[in-house]
């Protein structure tokens, strides 16, 4: 039996009937085809599934789609505007903040949320803020650099 939900995803209002047990990440990936949001661990540990729920970073493998009813979700597909990458995307690119890229969508969404609360974080604050996001490739150095670069960029904007 479906539960009706209205969820604004990347600015577009979606209405669907979903199974109550459907996890938000599978709603995004399977129902809407937005596969930019990854599933790494499925146990709330790795942060690959991080999206913004009303602007706050959440792990979408541990949120039910029905819990997002009436709320707004932003995924990695929703942050570029008019073909222009988001400054955080630019910064990850410029600073080599990724290798295989598996963690990257979650890292970028968590980093955007972090700067929203702390526009000029120290490297320590970046590391602390991103402790819920695991990367098996980069060793984190360039991710921290990317967030710093994006912070400078956004401060100038």
């Amino acid at each position: 039996m479906g539960v009706p939900v209205t969820i604004t995803v990347n600015g577009i209002q979606r209405q669907d009937e979903v199974e109550a047990r459907l996890l938000l990440v599978y709603y995004l990936r399977d129902t809407l085809g937005l596969t930019g949001t990854h599933v790494g661990c499925d146990t709330t540990s790795c942060g690959a599934c991080t999206v913004l729920l009303d602007g706050e970073a959440v792990k979408s493998c541990t949120v039910l789609a029905v819990q997002a009813d009436g709320h707004a979700v932003t995924t990695i597909e929703g942050i570029a505007t008019d073909g222009q990458l988001h400054p955080m995307q630019e910064a990850f690119w410029a600073e080599h903040g990724l290798q295989c890229g598996y963690c990257t969508p979650g890292m970028i969404m968590a980093s955007i949320a972090l700067l929203d609360r702390l526009p000029r974080p120290t490297p320590e604050q970046i590391r602390e803020g991103l402790e819920g996001n695991l990367c098996r490739c980069t060793g984190y150095q360039n991710i921290v650099k990317a967030v710093q670069t994006a912070a400078e960029q956004l401060a100038r904007a």
Binding site: M1, R21, T43, T44, V66, A110
Partner: protein, 285 residues
């Protein structure tokens, strides 16, 4: 991992939620942030028939100063508690412990009510609630009762709440002037505490009037370190007094072994973290 199927209700009011629980005494579960419950449901360790979502009840998310206490709505998130000016000023220990729960994403979803109701001995807020002398407000169709934190945590994952009761509010007496801190030790970033120590010290004219010292994850519930408390009481605030008192933090402790920590290691951490928490709270080292 997908939870087993369940029916879902998202009541718009507390009254509606209480009626749903009363109508399903054996097979309904509340869901708040879902960050303890959903992982259990995904592993099918929890298989409720009916999930009652508190997320659409508007008036369970607040932090208010009321006369002599802070009133915090059950659905207030760890993040909201950690940044609240009022909590910092009136009950610093709660902000201190909420700030080190899990990671940023977990703190955005997890709630004060869910954390206390879940009564996980490794959770950070229960020790703080005990040290702060918190009062927990539970409501059901049969009425309202106020439970002292000291009576609330009964066993591992077992609180004093009845199945049809909803934890609606946490009340914390103003702690003005007390020296407080929470210290936890974790093996990896974002992890649960291997051991934690919540301390609250009231002073008068340079001597310790009363100390509350509560340990996380060394027993089935938060554990009061009575030997430390009495070693501090009536003593002057000094590094020697703190160090000697903290040495007694493991007296009588019998923690269960875990993959990450033997009982001896936990006893060691209890002593070290109690000292660190007292030193930070009292600004000595």
């Amino acid at each position: 991992m997908i939870p087993a199927a369940f029916d879902y209700a998202a009541p718009a009011s507390l009254e509606e939620a209480m009626a749903l629980l009363a109508g399903h005494p054996d097979d309904a579960k509340l869901i708040a942030g879902g960050h303890s419950l959903l992982p259990l449901m995904k592993l099918r360790l929890a298989t409720p028939q009916l999930l009652v979502d508190l997320g659409k009840i508007p008036d369970l998310r607040y932090i208010e100063e009321k006369g002599d206490h802070l009133a915090i709505g059950a659905m207030t998130t760890h993040y909201q508690v950690s940044i609240s000016e009022a909590v910092r000023r009136r009950a610093g220990l709660l902000a201190d412990s909420a700030a080190v729960v899990g990671d940023m994403q977990v703190r955005n979803r997890g709630t004060v009510g869910g954390s206390l109701a879940h009564a996980d001995p490794a959770s950070d807020l229960p020790a703080a609630a005990l040290a702060l002398g918190a009062q927990l407000v539970a409501r059901s169709r049969s009425g309202e009762r106020v439970i002292a934190a000291a009576d609330f945590f009964q066993d591992i994952w077992t609180s004093a709440l009845e199945p049809e009761e909803i934890l609606t509010e946490v009340r914390i007496p103003f702690q003005d002037g007390k020296a407080q801190a929470y210290e936890k030790f974790r093996q990896r970033a974002g992890d649960w505490a291997i051991v934690g120590a919540a301390v609250s010290v009231a002073r008068r004219n340079g001597t310790i009037d009363r100390a509350d010292v509560i340990l996380t994850n060394v027993g089935p519930t938060p554990v009061r370190a009575r030997a430390v408390e009495s070693a501090l009481q009536g003593q002057p605030v000094s590094p020697e007094v703190v160090r000697a008192a903290a040495e007694q933090a493991a007296d009588g402790l019998d923690p269960a072994p875990e993959l990450k920590a033997s009982p001896d290691y936990k006893r060691h951490l209890a002593r070290v973290l109690t000292r660190r928490a007292l030193e930070r709270a009292l600004q000595i080292s």
